[in-house]
């Protein structure tokens, strides 16, 4: 620690602190324009100049100068104030004073500092910049005339996003922030640059001219897209969510968001929202009152309860709050008496609900998000984790670039993070992950690299016996990796002091979920890399509350039907009433034809959703539900943080929250009526062991992370190998960058970045087929065929094609059947 004096105040800070950090910790404000706590110090703007007695007469930047023992710093001498005024005068020389029409007004560092330092005249005169404004994309407007050259946009895009869209271009007076060849911006559109821009040079176009910054009501809540659990501040006015507001102090991610989080909020106030209940009359859905619609559902459920509760089933989306999911489960288990409930097609989260639960005794990850940056080696499986959980991808970026974390990606394709410094991507054959992990374990056992604790764990002998045929040389061909690579990876993992495995899961990654989770957990147990900082397996749920759904066991627990069983029951007639909440199985469950046939066959279908989805259009009763912005509650993130969701606007139209709807049904079916969320949360805390001790009103501002007690055991994981035939290609499905489920189809940001489905293939395969980007291709499997545009890329291996699953038109589930790989033929 270092002691210094700032403005007469004694300050003690760590020795790697800068004067700016030290002042901040002492509550002394030093003005900044180019400094950001997330980025490396830059020292470009000269606003933070201070005087240090030991460096007589010199004015030095506080943001780049490290503290030294005994330093005496003055931050507000008359000379310093004069110097800062000069900096502002020089900036205002070029900066257009168009504050009345600038969206940054009120949230503009330059404006605020000009006001604070009372720069009401300028001693200099010059022409303003005459740069063209970039209007080429609908999300980010770039007006370089307003730019103050702080470089934060270029730095955040490099340091955290690793896209590198911007750079300083040209020299001297002509220098400006520009893109490659000074063209229009063409990037991932995460908007990180907009969030850190201190002025209005980069603004969000969807928010342009919507409201003055100071008139927005700012509501802190949690993003409702993926399982990362990013905290979000919604900017609200007149019952409309108009934007997301950047807050650098929010969450583990310091306010960083991806495209869908920052630019995907428009679904909340979408014109397409369902505003009234609908009831099918003469084969057509017609507007109805809540009394009528809910009465029909209530009657149906009450009747079923009397005849045979097992003919009722429910499918629910893990996008609901914990309180709603709990009520849904109560409604079915206790109110109706049916165990036929499931979420996310059953398989999407079986890595948690079955895999981790059996191996460790709880359905959650034996790791948390903070482990990403404290580990030594990251082993990311299935994808590079960036396209499914972009903000966790930022965390990986930071870990690799700042903390020297070694990144190993094991996937059937490369990803953006494959390009990180010293990252190694092992591209294996699709669906061979389990075999590969068994081979890694085999190497570790055979080379004596296992931890001494492993052999005393239950199941060890069976586990080792099961590895018998998994020597690297024996499985190399099946995995599509060389035996040397497998051995090297196993040694790297075993020899790393701390190692974390990351496994993204979800609807688009069918098959092997449970087996793969167990294979990864086995590896962690074998090397003793579990239950310690920077170690474990982070299983990343797809949806905002996937972890909550797993914690609450929203799946059959007493012999009821799972999702696939429920759809089978609908088709065969054993399920007569199906209650679908927020799920859109027609698009997102495997085998669209089969799903549609099942939904057409079921006697009575209730769908509760925000939108008239393909599934809702088949319903007998449609109930309009509330989005996350219209309700209070809690979500649980992939990192096991239970976080508060806060109501930002009143319900749209006649929509009601899922909580209200379930509560009303439950109470009339003989259950208790809950008075409020705190009461339900208290009950959850008493039933779910990991939530015990938490209370609704006592949750931490940044989320309360629950801890888990490992009851580990080895469970041998085995899956059937798959062999392709010649002329056939392997189709793997997945998440497109910045889409999440089917909800993102109603968000402007994700739909601009990726408006439609595509099939991504290797440039060599494309050449063989004679196709180029955007040309239509017919993709045919044993289940059906779809027409999709080609996307030629460098990241796919030959013989493997990729398709995202989110889109309703030409949905990829028209050709998939729930297997990890779909064998397809592709033609022009």
């Amino acid at each position: 620690m270092v002691n210094l004096t700032i403005d007469g105040k004694q300050v003690t800070v760590p020795k790697d602190a800068t004067i700016y950090d030290a002042a901040k910790s002492a509550g002394i404000k030093i003005p900044i324009l180019c400094h950001d706590k997330k980025l490396h110090p830059f020292g470009g703007c000269r606003m933070c100049l201070v005087e240090v007695e030991q460096m007589k007469g010199r004015q030095i930047p506080a943001c780049t100068t490290p503290v030294t023992e005994g330093m005496i710093v003055s931050t507000m001498t008359p000379e310093i104030i004069q110097a800062r005024k000069l900096v502002l005068e020089l900036l205002l020389l070029k900066h257009p004073i168009d504050c009345p029409v600038c969206d940054a007004a009120g949230d503009c560092d330059l404006q605020n500092l000009t006001y604070e330092y009372q720069v009401n005249s300028n001693r200099f005169q010059d022409e303003k910049f005459q740069h063209q404004i970039d209007y080429q994309n609908p999300l980010i407007e770039r007006d370089m005339n307003r730019c103050v050259h702080c470089g934060k946009c270029a730095r955040i895009c490099d340091e955290i996003v690793s896209f590198g869209a911007y750079s300083f271009i040209n020299r001297g007076l002509e220098a400006k922030i520009g893109t490659e060849f000074d063209g229009p911006l063409n990037c991932e559109f995460c908007g990180s640059c907009v969030s850190v821009c201190p002025v209005g040079a980069l603004v969000s176009r969807p928010f342009k001219f919507k409201a003055r910054w100071w008139s927005l009501n700012k509501v802190k809540t949690v993003c409702s897209y993926c399982g990362t659990g990013c905290q979000l501040t919604l900017g609200v006015k007149d019952n409309k969510v108009l934007t997301t507001v950047y807050d650098e102090n929010q969450g583990f991610h310091n306010g960083q968001l991806c495209t869908r989080g920052r630019f995907g909020y428009q679904f909340v106030n979408s014109d397409k929202r369902l505003k009234t209940p609908l009831v099918k009359k003469n084969g057509k859905l017609e507007e109805a009152s809540w009394d009528e619609a809910l009465g029909l559902v209530r009657q149906r459920l009450a009747d079923a309860k009397n005849v045979g509760a097992s003919s009722v089933a429910g499918l629910v989306t893990p996008r609901l709050t914990n309180e709603e999911l709990y009520l849904f489960k109560q409604l079915f288990n206790k109110g109706i008496g049916s165990d036929n409930i499931d979420h996310s097609a059953g398989y999407a989260h079986d890595a948690l609900t079955a895999g981790a639960d059996e191996s460790l005794g709880y359905p959650a990850s034996p790791a948390s998000i903070s482990d990403i940056q404290t580990t030594n080696l990251l082993l990311v499986v299935k994808t590079d984790a960036y396209e499914t959980h972009p903000v966790l991808g930022f965390e990986i970026n930071l870990g690799v670039k700042r903390k020297g974390v070694n990144l190993r990606i094991v996937s059937d394709k490369k990803g953006k993070l494959s390009k990180l410094p010293n990252a190694v991507t092992y591209v294996h054959k699709p669906a061979s992950e389990v075999l590969l992990f068994n081979a890694l374990a085999k190497v570790i056992v055979d080379e004596g690299l296992a931890d001494s604790s492993a052999s005393s764990l239950p199941g060890y002998d069976d586990f080792v016996k099961n590895l018998g045929a998994c020597a690297p040389t024996a499985v190399a061909a099946q995995c599509g990796m060389s035996a040397d690579d497998i051995t090297a990876l196993a040694r790297d993992y075993a020899n790393a002091e701390k190692a974390l495995i990351m496994l993204p899961i979800g609807l688009a990654y069918p098959g092997h979920g449970k087996a793969l989770a167990q294979a990864t957990i086995n590896l962690a147990l074998l090397t003793g890399k579990i239950g310690k900082e920077g170690c474990g397996v982070l299983i990343m749920g797809e949806k905002n509350n996937s972890q909550g759904a797993a914690d609450l066991k929203v799946h059959p627990v007493a012999g009821g039907l799972d999702a696939m069983g429920i759809l089978g029951g609908c088709a065969s007639g054993t399920i007569k009433t199906l209650y679908v909440v927020g799920e859109n199985p027609v698009i997102s469950y495997p085998n669209r034809k089969k799903v549609e046939a099942a939904l057409d066959a079921v006697e009575f279908l209730v769908v509760q959703d925000l939108f008239m989805t393909e599934t809702a259009s088949k319903a007998d009763v449609v109930l309009p539900a509330c989005s996350f912005a219209e309700k209070n509650g809690t979500f649980t993130s992939a990192g096991k943080a239970v976080q508060r969701v806060r109501k930002a606007i009143d319900p749209i139209g006649m929509a009601r929250s899922d909580f209200e709807i379930f509560n009303s049904l439950y109470s009339t079916l003989g259950g208790d009526s809950f008075k409020g969320l705190s009461e339900v949360f208290a009950e959850i805390a008493s039933v779910v062991p990991s939530y015990s001790g938490f209370s609704f009103d006592g949750l931490d501002e940044n989320g309360s992370v629950y801890s888990v007690a490992n009851k580990p055991r080895f469970i041998p994981s085995v899956v059937d190998g798959q062999e392709s035939t010649t002329g056939v290609m392997a189709l793997v499905t997945g998440s497109a960058l910045n889409h999440c489920g089917t909800l993102s189809l109603y968000g402007e940001g994700p739909m601009y970045v990726c408006p439609e489905g595509y099939v991504e293939l290797n440039s060599g395969d494309a050449k063989k087929l004679g196709v180029e980007d955007d040309q239509p291709l017919t993709v045919k499997s044993s289940v059906g065929e779809v027409k999709l545009k080609a996307k030629v890329s460098m990241r796919m291996p030959e013989g493997v094609v990729f398709a995202p699953y989110h889109f309703s038109d030409m949905s990829i589930n028209g050709i998939t059947n729930g297997a990890p790989v779909t064998w397809v033929t592709i033609s022009k």
């Binding site: 750079s167 020299r171 490659e180 990180l420 460098m794």
Partner: protein, 173 residues
């Protein structure tokens, strides 16, 4: 570059401009493992093509694992790099103080007239690029012009026509 990913491989992409990427790949191969290799690679590419063509920027970005925007930043920072094709013969006329008082502006004007191009422009047949420069360091010979490495001192308006006539006869390759 030291932080290139372990799997950086030789890249062949369909170029927008029809150029042969062979020489560029050759230059990159030469410097691939050298730390801080961006400058020598870009200089090598400019030596090969006479300028830095766009497809080579994408190639360098991919193979050295540097953002294209940053390469563009480097290329536009240094005066030595050119993003457009340059003439076979670079005519440079000094407009420094000594040359200026000896009548350099008239020499410049005459070149403009005869070549039909302005400062930092290239003739459509790619034979000449004309540049005004601040000082060529031979004030005793003012006014001074250079064509590639050949020096012409005590320039006159008549000599401009002679130089152009002579270089019109020279080969293009």
């Amino acid at each position: 570059m030291s932080n290139a990913p372990a799997e950086a491989t030789h890249v062949e992409e369909t170029p927008v401009e029809e150029i042969d990427l062979g020489p560029a790949n050759h230059v990159i191969d030469k410097y691939l493992t050298l730390p801080g290799n961006l400058m020598p690679v870009l200089q090598g590419i400019q030596d090969e093509y006479g300028y830095v063509p766009k497809p080579t920027i994408d190639l360098v970005a991919e193979r050295l694992n540097v953002y294209p925007s940053q390469i563009f930043g480097v290329l536009t920072f240094y005066a030595q790099f050119h993003l457009k094709p340059r003439g076979r013969y670079i005519i440079r006329v000094c407009v420094g103080t000594a040359c200026h008082v000896q009548g350099a502006p008239r020499i410049v004007e005459t070149f403009f007239d005869k070549l039909g191009i302005g400062h930092a422009e290239t003739t459509s047949d790619l034979r000449y690029t004309f540049e005004k420069v601040a000082c060529l360091g031979a004030c005793g010979m003012a006014p001074l012009a250079m064509v590639n490495d050949d020096t012409f001192g005590k320039m006159t308006v008549q000599k401009v026509a002679e130089i152009i006539a002579e270089y019109n006869q020279r080969p293009m390759k």
